[in-house]
């Protein structure tokens, strides 16, 4: 997922001078992925790949730093093409995430070859020519951050015993200014956390996992898994703009994720029943910022960010089917969208599920 760099750069005068050397912090080798899930790009064409099965995140230098991001990418039957490349049935290709490299305009896909427990992960990339190619992981400059619940993790000391048997799903990751923000969800206890992992990765620091809570109308407080999120500046400060699995849209200051304290998102919109946000990006149009969300039941939603910095957070129950918080409209022409990322300042790239398979399509940001 691309960070809202367009928004950030408009407000920040200069990027930190060390960012050009991030690739130098990586070492050559062959990263061994056990799975390939959510993706994100950092600067210099550095690709972050989450590996939920191996409980790790990899940072890989793709060396893909030049290209034309204004070229539309439209590939019909991208899964059939990938299947041919991987020598399998189209049905046995699972596309887990799509992220566009802002340095080159190339789309990267994290793929599972096969649906069984021995499925093989692959990273495939494609640009406007429509011909996918597999990213070879041999002899790449890379680094690995292990998440604390990695399989080899040993039981240690008091307190949280036996965490090592748990599996955590990773629902989304985003890079922002030296930090990789990772949203995780346990497959057992109803717990969710956000981690802000410093990058370059410091040894095996998986970042502190911060439990995220939600307060329904300030009255009922519950743990709240994050399904998808984007970075957004509010009042000059970076925030996580997150969609909970239970549907509210909230903001969380990034600084709070590092404080180690309990974190409760501030509700800025309440989405109704059957809204299942799958993916989201932030973009600018006519001088204003918008959130674009792919929603499994309702197509793609365009959410206004007007007044988001002033909003106290929704604390009252809204009756009669009214919409509280940020206003949004549904773009119904975009149906079947399962993945979404920004292609350039004016366009987005989506993965669409059709009767025949999956297509990659470019469309103008609404």
């Amino acid at each position: 997922m691309r960070t809202s760099l367009g928004v950030l750069l408009a407000l920040v005068t200069a990027a930190p001078s060390w960012s050009a050397d991030l690739t130098d912090t990586l070492s050559k080798g062959t990263p061994k992925l056990q799975s390939a899930g959510p993706l994100a790009f950092g600067p210099e064409g550095i690709l972050f790949v989450s590996d939920p099965k191996g409980a790790a995140i990899f940072a890989i230098a793709t060396n893909d730093t030049k290209g034309d991001d204004t070229k539309a990418i439209n590939v019909e039957g991208i899964d059939a093409k990938i299947a041919s490349m991987l020598g399998t049935k189209t049905d046995d290709v699972l596309i887990n995430d799509v992220a566009v490299n802002p340095a080159s305009g190339m789309a990267y896909l994290s793929v599972s070859r096969g649906r069984g427990p021995d499925a093989i992960p692959a990273i495939v990339r494609v640009h406007s020519s429509g011909r996918p190619e597999a990213l070879s992981l041999k002899d790449m400059a890379y680094a690995k951050a292990e998440l604390p619940n990695a399989p080899a993790d040993k039981v240690s000391g008091e307190g949280r015993r036996r965490r090592n048997n748990r599996t955590e799903s990773i629902t989304d990751i985003t890079y922002h200014d030296g930090k990789l923000v990772v949203a995780g969800l346990s497959n057992e206890e109803f717990a969710s956390n956000l981690r802000a992992i410093p990058f370059p990765f410091e040894k095996v620091d998986g970042g502190t996992a911060i439990e995220i809570f939600h307060g329904a109308h300030g009255k009922y407080e519950t743990r709240s898994p994050v399904r998808t999120f984007a970075m957004f500046r509010i009042g000059g400060e970076p925030h996580v703009l997150a969609a909970y699995t239970c549907t509210p849209l909230v903001t969380i200051p990034l600084a709070e994720l590092e404080s180690g304290k309990k974190v409760q998102g501030r509700t800025v919109a309440e989405l109704g029943n059957r809204n299942r946000p799958l993916d989201m990006i932030v973009y600018e149009k006519d001088g204003k910022s918008f959130l674009l969300m792919a929603n499994s039941a309702r197509g793609v939603m365009k959410v206004s960010t007007d007044g988001i910095e002033d909003r106290e957070g929704i604390t009252e129950r809204v009756g009669g089917g009214g919409k509280a918080g940020q206003s949004y409209e549904t773009i119904e022409t975009l149906e079947g969208v399962v993945q979404l990322d920004r292609l350039n300042d004016r366009q987005a790239l989506v993965l669409v599920k059709t009767d025949a398979g999956h297509d990659l399509r470019t469309f103008d940001l609404p």
Partner: protein, 405 residues
């Protein structure tokens, strides 16, 4: 082009004029594709013309590794290919999963071995799939004729063996705010379509619409034998829009069934032996967190390996019971042994590997331990802030017990 080829081509063109809509202008052979109008009907398993011609064959290296081998290639041509390198070999022998030559070629490695060109796919071939192997050395020999051979890998028609072993919570009466269900399978399963094969039916057998939280990632254990199914927290949590609009997925007083479809494929692509149905009644919501201080312990005698038996104050989460209970001995160290969860997850028992020592023991209950409604030790699923101050989580609870000498 050889004289023989020219003659044969002329005959072909002559014959093609009869039914062909294209202009009768002979095109150079390199422009022709072997499936274009006027070519003989493709019999893809044998070459078009008699005489030496290359044939692509599939060779079993091991039971699940194959190689594609081109036989009958002129030695000089082979040497030429090898000299040109990988890219040329790759375009000369390309294997695809469809007839369309626009499809990307399979990933793998090419080599010239023992007078043949060999392609080793990077991944094992898929049973039941037809592969299209195209031999096309025209970049080295423009007069060569491309040949596409189709090779089918037979399906492995094995009988289904996987089944649903159990669904938790295993009780017959479940709370209205039930949050989480576990489906256990006898073998590793396939992922990506879980929610198409899971249904919640009401007493009339009608499907409850959108009762579950559907996650693209799906929630599986490490060996893909246990699936975690969450009911939609947006519908369960009070005061959230979905809860206000359509209410919880199940309602107190009603009866429902969780249905697992037979056609959920296992890790080998076979359906289940049979589907599975779990029927249950629903009672009022459970908003009371588990309280270990209310548990009953039946304490064994020292010197033996009788079980320590724990009875809970209500059913607890089946998966968390495997992780979040620990017994420590008089030295404060965790004991090793075998734990068993009682029927309906209402109790737990522990049999130590070593005989019980006399002295002070503790049952340590991790505060993350939940019941099926998501209430954890010391913290209900929904903390009513008007009644209690907000707290992030309860602490672990230690229940001491004496094993008498």
């Amino acid at each position: 082009m050889t004289t023989r080829s020219r003659i044969l081509w002329s005959l072909l063109l002559a014959g093609s004029l009869v039914g062909c809509r294209e202009a009768a202008v002979p095109l150079p052979i390199v422009e022709r594709d072997n499936e274009v109008c006027c070519a003989p009907p493709p019999d893809l398993r044998r070459p078009e013309f008699p005489g030496p011609a290359a044939v692509v064959e599939l060779v079993n290296v091991t039971s699940d590794r194959h190689e594609f081998v081109v036989r009958g290639v002129d030695a000089a041509l082979l040497a030429s290919l090898q000299q040109r390198g990988d890219d040329t070999m790759t375009t000369s022998l390309a294997v695809r999963t469809g007839a369309d030559t626009d499809l990307p070629a399979m990933l793998g490695e090419h080599a010239v071995v023992g007078g043949t060109l060999v392609f080793r796919p990077r991944f094992p071939l898929a049973a039941g799939l037809v592969y299209y192997a195209t031999w096309d050395p025209r970049t080295v020999d423009p007069s060569a004729r491309p040949v596409t051979t189709t090779i089918e890998i037979p399906s492995t028609e094995r009988e289904p063996t996987a089944r649903v072993v159990e669904v938790f919570p295993s009780g017959d009466v479940l709370p209205e705010n039930l949050l989480r269900i576990y489906v256990h399978f006898s073998e590793p399963m396939s992922r990506g379509r879980a929610y198409e094969h899971l249904h919640l039916l009401d007493a009339n057998g009608d499907e409850v619409e959108a009762p579950f939280l559907e996650l693209g990632e799906e929630l599986w254990n490490r060996d893909a034998t246990r699936f975690t199914l969450l009911l939609d927290p947006g519908r369960i949590k009070r005061d959230l829009k979905p809860n206000l609009e359509v209410g919880p997925p199940v309602r107190a007083g009603g009866t429902y069934s969780i249905v697992v479809d037979r056609d959920w494929l296992d890790g080998h692509g076979r359906p289940l032996v049979e589907g599975h149905r779990k029927a249950f009644r629903v009672e009022r919501p459970d908003t009371v967190p588990p309280d270990p201080r209310k548990w009953a312990l039946s304490i064994p005698e020292s010197g033996g390996v009788e079980p320590l038996h724990v009875t809970f104050d209500g059913p607890l989460d089946r998966a968390l019971l495997d992780r979040l209970l620990t017994i420590t001995g008089p030295d404060g160290e965790p004991l090793t042994g075998t734990a068993m969860v009682m029927p309906h997850e209402l109790g737990w028992q522990f049999v130590p590997d070593e005989p019980w020592a006399a002295g002070r023991h503790e049952l340590i209950v991790d505060s993350l331990l939940e019941d099926p409604s998501g209430n954890s030790v010391g913290r209900p699923f929904e903390v009513d802030l008007s009644a209690t101050p907000s707290s992030s989580e309860g602490s672990d609870v230690r229940l001491p017990f004496e094993v008498e000498p």
